[in-house]
Symmetry: none
Subunit: 208 residues, 4 copies
Amino acid sequence: MTYADRMTEAAPSAPSPRRRDRAATRAALLEAARLRFSRQGFDGTGVREIAADAGVDAALVFRYFGSKEKLYAEAVHVEIPQGLTDGPPRPLTRVTDELLYDVVFGDWEKFDGEHPLLVMLRSAHRPAVRDQLRDRLCDGYLRDFAERLGGGDAALRAELIGALLLGMGVMRSVVGSPALTEATFDETRLLVARLVRTLTEPRADGVG
Amino acid sequence: MTYADRMTEAAPSAPSPRRRDRAATRAALLEAARLRFSRQGFDGTGVREIAADAGVDAALVFRYFGSKEKLYAEAVHVEIPQGLTDGPPRPLTRVTDELLYDVVFGDWEKFDGEHPLLVMLRSAHRPAVRDQLRDRLCDGYLRDFAERLGGGDAALRAELIGALLLGMGVMRSVVGSPALTEATFDETRLLVARLVRTLTEPRADGVG
Amino acid sequence: MTYADRMTEAAPSAPSPRRRDRAATRAALLEAARLRFSRQGFDGTGVREIAADAGVDAALVFRYFGSKEKLYAEAVHVEIPQGLTDGPPRPLTRVTDELLYDVVFGDWEKFDGEHPLLVMLRSAHRPAVRDQLRDRLCDGYLRDFAERLGGGDAALRAELIGALLLGMGVMRSVVGSPALTEATFDETRLLVARLVRTLTEPRADGVG
Amino acid sequence: MTYADRMTEAAPSAPSPRRRDRAATRAALLEAARLRFSRQGFDGTGVREIAADAGVDAALVFRYFGSKEKLYAEAVHVEIPQGLTDGPPRPLTRVTDELLYDVVFGDWEKFDGEHPLLVMLRSAHRPAVRDQLRDRLCDGYLRDFAERLGGGDAALRAELIGALLLGMGVMRSVVGSPALTEATFDETRLLVARLVRTLTEPRADGVG
DNA sequence: TATGAATGAGCATTCATTCAT
DNA sequence: TATGAATGAATGCTCATTCAT
């Protein structure tokens, strides 16, 4: 059996055998789903596994969420933090600092340590997940970001910054590259800030 | 056509020749597997599908490769191109130019149009794939790259460049972000070169 | 989903009157069950569907009726109409006329347009339904009918008439055969009357 | 458990543990399916049951037939006997005699004793089965039959004969009505022949 | 009493894999 | 050696029914 690499640890939480509590059961399923999907991706996770983690019957997944796919969509959904262009005015490098922390260095406990965008990336071969990812990334983060930048190729430069941050997240959490994994947030933010400024400040010489 | 034509050709179809020798059958399976895995990822591809594409029985996958997982490993394996620090000496931005073309803009026919690293990323939720990806990326590209860069945090800066390129590939092929998808190679390389120089040139001001 | 032809329209009635007494709820369940079972058969109907039509919880089905099977039995039960040999005396062809109308051409609103016998026939693979059907048909219609006919093989001839009428109902509503579906009641009754007389009138020549 | 009425007898045949014999396995599955479907209808039969009867794994149902529905279609398919208007010329009552025997009195061993039309009737709530039934009945038996009869309402009279025979089959095998169940073929054919003649012979008086 | 949360057996179907030939 | 028949565990999902409240 070559599929033994699937992690089989029990649910870390599953606190009380709460019974007959709709909200709590739903929440327990969502929490279990988040963790499993984060670790194992969509295809690698079974609904029975999730239900067992939550301590309930698998049929409740369908009662409460309709399908595995909808459970996934709801599990990886997070309210997009408004903090890009909204909130108190602050310099762009401050904004990217926050994003860097969130996406790359943040410890998203509920998602097994990774940013939900990276979690979704892991199951992005599914069209539904891909769409969700695109919405969150392009219509969420990047659009606001591009508006903040000026110039004709604002969208492209915004996506480059997005690519950098996303790529760093991939490097750390998916690939596990050594330098980024061991680097501290402070070491990294200086480099990132320099890169962001490079894309932000208008350069008189347009030389590549 | 890729920047450096390092892919060796192979029959694109191999339709009719019924009687095949062992080597040809193996090659046909590998080619079919490469295309299917690239398009559909590991989980989304069945061994019967691959075998049917190759015109042979599915049992041969196990006879020749032992398991689906090992077939995958062999299918996505490509000899790491020597073109980073080897070859004729050329400026670093030229090297990253080549990498940008390969990873982000290149058309890898044998992998259905994408760089094998992106293909692997798509199935990276599997520990085996993840390990393979890490080896290829860290011990392959990034190590050579870091040696080329000087300074104390060379490895980190090398990974940042790697993250940028990998992130751009993800943006284009997985996420499908609009600006990067529509941008031309030439529009993009100027921006990337600027970023690379930012990480390369020693800056007197160490401000982040 | 190849079974999408299952009708999914909501209940046409039972809209608003929230608070109901026991009797009204029971009646609402029965009515909903009758319609659903008539349309979709026993296996094709779920208790949740019925309960939803009636506007109550599915558990009430079990509280009131014990099981889906018992609900079915009660739903398709109708008082056998007395109109065969009872009532004012009238010729036998008149009686079969009435039966023809009832079974084949009648519009049984409460059973979605079909005679309950045909409805039951549709789920007659269930032993319980089959028993109910046999009781209704043999101990109900056919016994009275046979008494009306004279002669040694009265029972057999009665069953032949029953078979004709039942078969016509099957042809129209289950099979959907073209001629019987489009024929009018008046076109048909002449032929049926002739057949009935054939079985009724003593024939001098006993030739088959 | 109110569903205990499902018959659970083992397969009567399952002769040899024939292994690795495509044709024999296919045939064993078909035979088991025919019996189970005949007894229990489409919904009441599981593919595991069928496979167990045939002594093989349930997955083979899908390997050989694609789906449960296709297995059903193939299981209840019989070559329609040409013997209505084809073959040596013979009087119509002789033709109906044959049909009577086939549909009502014949012992179709492979279908658990019933004519396949009656078997299909049992699962006719499924659109696919219904279509198959209609094809077999209307386009098969009845069309040829109507051509044989003359007159303006030939189709209607043909369907009346069909209804009679089908209804008799239902009475015997589904309802289990006593007289028809106990009657001999010879007792019955005389009555049926009289009925057929009634519909065949032109009557000067068109009175119903 | 009536609600609705929970259950668990069951469903058809798919899959990588093995084994007889 | 290579074919393809056979396997069995796992998949997502549905259902009638029960039980706590």
